[in-house]
Symmetry: C2
Subunit: 125 residues, 2 copies
């Protein structure tokens, strides 16, 4: 998935700290730079687009929601995020008919995109 | 990843036709429904949120870009999308220093979200 961000270094640092994503490729063009981030755990990449000279915050709208990362130990990740001063929201549990559907917390990236961190559970393994 | 969509049936039909995504789970709550879509090819799900009673189109903003699906045969997929009247954009090739970086086309989902369809190539396998 591709998101537009204002500050390449700030976003690369955030995604590395928060999710262990490393730069798989980086291409600088006239006017914009593309940075591809991935880790070994998922068959998925985040592509950052940095439009050179843009300083106005992007409008995030109300349509796109978030991307979610599944983790082995949600409480440990929450503690780690807190220690890294990434300001995670509290851990929440989401029940339906008495059954746990999801245990998760949200964090916000430097441009304001919400990201869900989800305990591996059920289909999410 | 989660996106908000207006019409559950319309979106489910689109993602099934376009990407072979099937409903892995569906939960109806007071006020909203969550639909989880996946296929066997990727360790990834799309979650649709349908807010009941919403008719106003979602504001997509200019921050979130798109999600991309990698396919084995881009030209065949483009022909299939065309036959299904999904109105794919033309196939494009993206070169850098003479080397092919990516071959792809874009399509738009029923709510206006752009989606990239990408030839498997390089890291995208």
């Amino acid at each position: 998935m591709m998101i537009r961000v204002l500050d390449e270094a700030r976003s690369v640092a955030f995604y590395e700290k928060a999710f262990g994503l490393a730069i798989a490729d980086r291409f600088a063009f006239d006017g914009f730079t593309l940075v591809y981030l991935r880790n070994a755990d998922a068959d998925f990449e985040i592509e950052l687009t940095i439009n050179h000279g843009r300083s106005e915050p992007y409008q995030l709208g109300d349509g796109y929601g978030h991307v979610a990362f599944a983790v082995d130990d949600l409480e440990a990740e929450h503690a780690r995020f807190t220690a890294l001063e990434l300001s995670p929201n509290p851990v929440k549990e989401f029940f339906r008919d008495g059954a746990l559907l999801a245990k998760f917390f949200f964090v916000t990236d430097p441009d304001g995109y919400k990201i869900e961190v989800l305990q591996k559970h059920g289909r999410y393994r």
